[in-house]
Amino acid sequence: MNIPDTNGERNIALASPAAPSQPQPTPVEDSVISARHLTKKFGDEFAVQDVSFDVPRASIFGFIGPSGSGKTTTVRLLTGVYTPTDGDVSVLDRNPANFSQGERARLGYMPQLFVLYPTLTVWENLNFAASLYGMGLFRGKRLAGALKFVELYEHRGKLARNISGGMLRRLSLAATLVHNPQLLFLDEPTAGIDPVLRRKFWDHFRELKDQGRTIFITTQYVSEADNCDLVGVQSNGKLLVVDTPQGIRHRAYGGDMVDFRTTQPFDFQAEAMLRSLPFVRAKTVRTGADSMRIIVDQANSDTAELMGWAQRQNIQVKTVEEYMPPFEDVFVELVRPELSHG
């Protein structure tokens, strides 16, 4: 296992856990999406293998994984574009293959690539998408609103072929949101979007969630996982873990991480005593002459224990605070065993 140092420049080798097994979820009572042993093969190749999870209503479910890990295939299985080779899937309590027109109208789908028309203007493309969902003739206000949200209103008269890749993603998102769907499937919606607009997107996704909408979102930006209520980490077609962002961090490192900083340099004796404390779960890592990064069972409760121990040992504590490792590191920790086994 690798734990990054505070500057993120140096990785210190720690013990590697065994490869995580496929998680089997506890059924969620009010789930909008439910997948059980979902498998999709193309020829002899598994694109998705034995994937099971539930997505509760009014939540944001982040699906994270490296390129080629089967995220898009999973989205297509959930939207009915693909039929599973094996397993079951239920979306809005129906098999997606048997959706009625009314049920489809409740979905919003943003594919990974821009799939609208280069020779139509931004406005015409959005109008086309709105018509596909049967939106009424007086939809101009809603179209304008969607374009303003993705900051494309000023560009509404431009042909799609003449706008940038990021703008195309924004147009796709507007086209997905324009009919106000209940359940959104967003396949890498923030790819190619600048950080400021990305933040705005996530703010809007949370607003939608607060309005009771459910969002299934895939992303390669691992850091975005923190914005999700639940995160599924996928690699090589297998779902490695489904948990809250905090839970995933915990799983990745075997506990919570705490940065322990003193006013004076640490001596070896003190360090040895610290490592032997019962709530310290793994080896401590010296990150400086006067600082250590410690993995504990629970950061909230164990921080007080740590302060008590320091006081008893006459160690002057400068700061003790929970360290949230970047999700990129968490992701690497989770995926590494799978990759090494694969």
Binding site: G80, F114, F128, A130, L132, L137, F185
Partner: protein, 507 residues
């Protein structure tokens, strides 16, 4: 808002989208309108309703019976298609010129034609050419046939001219016969049997002379009468008259006849002689060219208009172009949705196959209709192609052609994986239409089972129906129009089923 109304909105999304996409390509629209118009315009002013002339060299054998001036004259009789460039006695040299492209045709005169004919065989003119185009080969054969016809006619004309010259001598014999007969009548009336006997013998000599000469001359006239089937009428054939004359003349020498019987025979003989005389005069008065070629043809049409070749083809071009336009646009339409990726969006959206197809049908029908209206107006008002029928019927046929062609296009589009595949299939349809729709050659020239292909092509129906309406000024053949629409409906059903599978069936 009801499901039906939502369906209309979904269909309308395609209608607007397709129209906008097309209008964003003004060059394409201009090409679709101006291209065919310019082609027809240039074809109209450039087409000459005459096949090209062939530079012809003659090869004459050393013992040729045809003088050079006759060769030239005969060629001119054929028409301007044969251009005389010279005569030579050397076949190899002539063939060499042919291979080098310096001449187009070498006609070799038969050697010793008279002997060949005397041996009861036809003498052969051999035509050498360097053509590979089957139509041109047929054309050369046709010209050869015409040329030999002219030569044969000239030979027969020679016979006729000779017969007319011979007829002058026959007149003399007939006059002598009349005089001898007149003398014989007087001898019989006066009872001078010896003189009557003498005149009868002289008369018999005259009749024999006429019999020998008249055969060739009046035989031609008899043949003409027999061809017309008038030998059963009042006028006896010359040969019958001649036989009667010979028989009567011979019986005039019969000594057992009474005086009245003899006079009666003399009257009959006199009449036969007069008939023969009249026939000879008639024969002489006819132009020898008419005698050897008594018939010619004239064609008259009862159609309401006699369109030019360009006019005739203009409507076929219109039908073919509209079919190709509709097939190509429709063929590219759905395959492009697949390639762009919108099909994935459609699968997730509430869009149904019928709604998507309906929207596309309507948009392309409208677009094709506008193109067709402009083209039809240009054909009629700018190129002056006759438009004798009802414009509404014309519009109906055009709509049916577009509708059915789109069915083919959509079916192609759904089974195609790529744009280029769709274009290839469309080109095959175009090629099939050129060969099987009656565009180039009449359907009658196709083997009946192969005509099944013809009747699967909208151009076949369109060409026939548009020509009927515009060039004949008659109502469309409703059976044909019904069959075209039925074909379109069948194709729409197939397209819908394929499209439904494409939209609803997952991989």
């Amino acid at each position: 808002m009801g499901d039906f109304f939502r369906g209309i909105i979904r269909s309308s999304s395609f209608f607007r989208k397709e129209i906008f996409e097309i209008l964003r390509q003004p060059r394409l629209v201009a090409t679709l309108v101006l291209g065919p118009f310019l082609i027809l315009f240039v074809f109209g002013i450039g087409y000459r309703d005459q096949p090209g002339s062939l530079r012809t060299v003659f090869v004459t054998p050393p013992n040729s019976a045809l003088p050079t001036q006759d060769i030239e004259r005969y060629m001119k009789s054929v028409g301007s298609q044969l251009v005389y460039v010279g005569a030579t006695g050397n076949l190899d040299e002539a063939l060499n010129r042919l291979r080098l492209g310096k001449v187009d045709l070498v006609i070799v005169e038969p050697g010793d034609a008279v002997s060949t004919i005397k041996n009861n065989q036809q003498a052969v003119f051999t035509l050498y050419h360097h053509e590979i185009d089957p139509v041109r080969v047929t054309y050369v054969s046709y010209l050869g046939w015409l040329y030999v016809g002219v030569v044969n006619q000239q030979v027969l004309r020679g016979f006729a001219v000779q017969g007319q010259k011979d007829a002058v001598n026959l007149h003399v014999s007939l006059q002598e016969a009349h005089q001898n007969l007149s003398a014989m009548r007087q001898a019989v009336q006066s009872g001078d049997q010896a003189l009557a006997q003498q005149k009868q013998q002289q008369l018999a000599g005259n009749v024999d002379a006429v019999s020998l000469g008249v055969g060739t001359s009046l035989g031609l006239l008899d043949s003409l009468q027999q061809t017309q089937g008038i030998n059963g009428g009042t006028a006896d054939p010359a040969q019958t008259t001649l036989s009667d004359l010979q028989q009567n003349t011979s019986q005039l020498g019969n000594s057992t006849d009474t005086k009245d019987q003899q006079l009666a025979r003399i009257d009959k003989t006199d009449k036969d002689l007069s008939d023969l005389d009249a026939k000879l005069a008639e024969f002489q008065s006819i132009d020898p060219s008419i005698i050897v070629s008594p018939f010619r043809n004239e064609t008259k049409s009862v159609a309401n208009a006699q369109p030019s070749t360009a006019d005739f083809f203009a409507l076929a071009v219109l039908a073919l172009l509209l079919q190709h336009l509709a097939v190509t646009f429709a063929a590219l339409s759905i395959v492009r949705e697949r390639n762009v990726g919108t099909m994935e969006l459609f699968r997730v959206s509430p869009l149904s196959a019928a709604e998507a197809l309906f929207g596309k049908y309507i948009s392309y029908m409208l677009f094709g209709g506008v193109i067709a209206a402009i083209l039809a107006a240009l054909l009629v008002f700018a190129l002056h192609v006759p438009m004798l029928g009802n414009w509404w019927y014309l519009a109906l046929v055009i709509a049916a052609v577009l509708f059915t062609s789109m069915g083919i296009g959509f079916a192609i589009s759904i089974i195609s994986e790529t744009d280029s595949q769709a274009v290839q299939y469309s080109m095959i349809i175009l090629l099939a239409s050129v060969f099987f729709s009656g565009f180039i050659m009449s359907l009658d020239m196709l083997w009946v089972p192969v005509r099944v292909i013809s009747w699967l092509l909208p151009t076949t129906y369109g060409t026939l129906l548009l020509r009927d309406i515009a060039l004949r000024g008659i109502d469309p053949n409703w059976g044909l129009l019904g069959a075209l629409i039925a074909l379109g409906l069948a194709l729409m059903l197939i397209s819908w089923r394929l499209m439904r599978r494409l939209i609803t069936t997952s991989e």
